[in-house]
Amino acid sequence: MAHEIQHVSTPAGGAHAAGQSHVPAHGQHHGEYHVHVVPPWLLIAVFVCLVILTGITVGVTYFDFGRTLNVWIALAVAVAKATLVALFFMHLRWDSPFNSVVLFAALFFVALFIGTVILDSKEYQINFVPPTSTSMAP
């Protein structure tokens, strides 16, 4: 895939950047500024994929694969869509990897939260039948 990479010089480039790069991790040439411009065909392609996936996820509901499988299919399609949006619309594909780490950390902790609370779900009793005052004291 060929991507347009724009090399842009900052107006007062050389003078500034010279040296004082605060970010040891970044090895770019000083005074140049890498801007990744997403080409139109890619944007359209991602959009078309998203529409198709939306169609799939709606279409799937007309078939019964069983309660569990249907949920997982729906979630898998949603994850695929979300990945497309994050990678291309949100530029993660070309971004500093640490931003992806942040996203994954957030998803990990959401999963941890939900997973652990569900672990306890056998204990939640929303069909609880409260004893009435007929039979119990105040």
């Binding site: 204990e123 939640y124 009793q125 929303i126 609880f128 409260p130 004893p131 009435t132 005052s133 007929t134 039979s135 119990m136 004291a137 105040p138």
Partner: protein, 348 residues
């Protein structure tokens, strides 16, 4: 030796799990004391030896020592795993209910406890036989409370909307306090009760008496009716001071004329009360909703008779019609000018 020491900071050991808990407590206390001494001694020695003073120079020392640091990573890790193991084992003892245990339902409410025995008797204090595993099923009417008996080392929240369970087996005859250990509002600190541990034979005798008021000393139908009024939920909706509740007040009701929602009028006699308790939707008093639950199967006819007897003692029309022959009971209604508010209603 540890037992004597423990009595300084622990309540009496009155259940089968208590010695185990206390043993673990003392074990951790030992670990705590050891590490505290180690760390504090190190601090004191260093503070004295390396204090800044004329002529003292701070020496060079290694910036780290992986061996040393791994040592004080791994040793605490082992210690905490050991503590976890014992804590977990003790917890299993606490949560695995022995089969065939005696079940008591604990129901909490702001701010009192009610204990229901298998025969349906409900008491505000918990009586248990010694040496019998007691299984508690806890639930709450309103907010979260926590059933806590320090002497048994037993605690479990009683949560509305679910049943929690706990069990214990008392090993000592005596009376032990029950606390509510989860904050539950104004009178949280007075949500106290006690557990009375008795020999099994005494317990059986007590239960028989408790379930049959007629056998209790000082039994009168009026008093038994008042107990039912207080303990079986009537008090929540029916006042005895004339104020409006969810249901009509009992003050001066018996023997008076009652206007019903269908426009008719009826005299509140024995039949009316009896029917209202068992089939509450049959006759709705004007201005009230049909919300009262039926006590069909919940109260026996004899118990309803006691309630009626109690209602008679707080009804002026009835007493007048009887030529005020009945003595005024101790639980006489408050004065008419009293503000129409029961003691509990101004609580938030």
């Amino acid at each position: 030796m540890l037992k004597i020491l423990g009595s300084i900071y622990m309540p009496p050991e009155a259940s089968t799990v208590a010695p185990g808990v206390d043993w673990l407590f003392n074990f951790i206390l030992g670990i705590t004391a050891f590490f505290c001494l180690l760390i504090f001694a190190g601090m004191v020695v260093f503070c004295i030896k390396y204090r800044h003073r004329p002529g003292h120079q701070g020496g060079e020392s290694p910036g780290h020592s992986t061996g040393l640091e791994l040592t004080w990573t791994i040793i605490p890790l082992i210690i905490v795993l050991v503590v976890f193991f014992y804590g977990f084992r003790g917890f299993l003892d606490m949560s695995v209910v022995p089969p065939n245990s005696y079940e008591i339902i604990v129901q909490s409410k702001m701010w009192n406890w009610a204990f229901q025995y298998p025969n349906g008797t409900v008491t505000p204090e918990l009586h248990v036989p010694k040496g019998v595993p007691i299984r508690l099923v806890l639930t709450s009417d309103d907010v979260i409370h926590s059933f806590y008996v320090p002497a048994f080392r037993t605690q479990k929240m009683s949560v509305p909307g679910r049943y929690n369970r706990a069990w214990f087996q008392a090993t000592q005859v005596g009376e032990f306090p029950i606390y509510c250990a989860q904050y539950c509002g104004t009178s949280h600190s007075k949500m106290l009760s006690k557990v009375v541990v008795e020999e099994p034979t005494n317990f059986d005798r007590w239960l028989e008496e408790a379930s049959n008021p007629e056998k209790q000393t000082g039994f009168t139908p009026q008093k038994a009716g008042e107990d039912i009024y207080k303990s079986r939920g009537c008090i929540q909706c029916h006042s005895i001071d004339g104020s409006h509740g969810t249901g009509p007040t009992w003050k001066d009701m018996f023997g008076s004329k009652v206007a019903l929602s269908d426009g008719s009028t009826i005299v509140a006699d024995e039949n009316y009360v009896h029917d209202s308790v068992l089939y509450p939707t049959k006759q709705i008093v004007q201005g009230y909703q049909a919300v009262m639950p039926s006590y069909l199967g919940g109260l026996k006819d004899k118990q309803i008779d006691w309630v009626i007897a109690y209602m008679k003692t707080i009804s002026e029309p009835y007493k007048k019609s009887m030529g005020s022959s009945g003595a005024v009971p101790t639980s006489a209604p408050m004065h008419k000018d009293e503000p129409a508010r029961s003691a509990g209603s101004n609580l938030k």
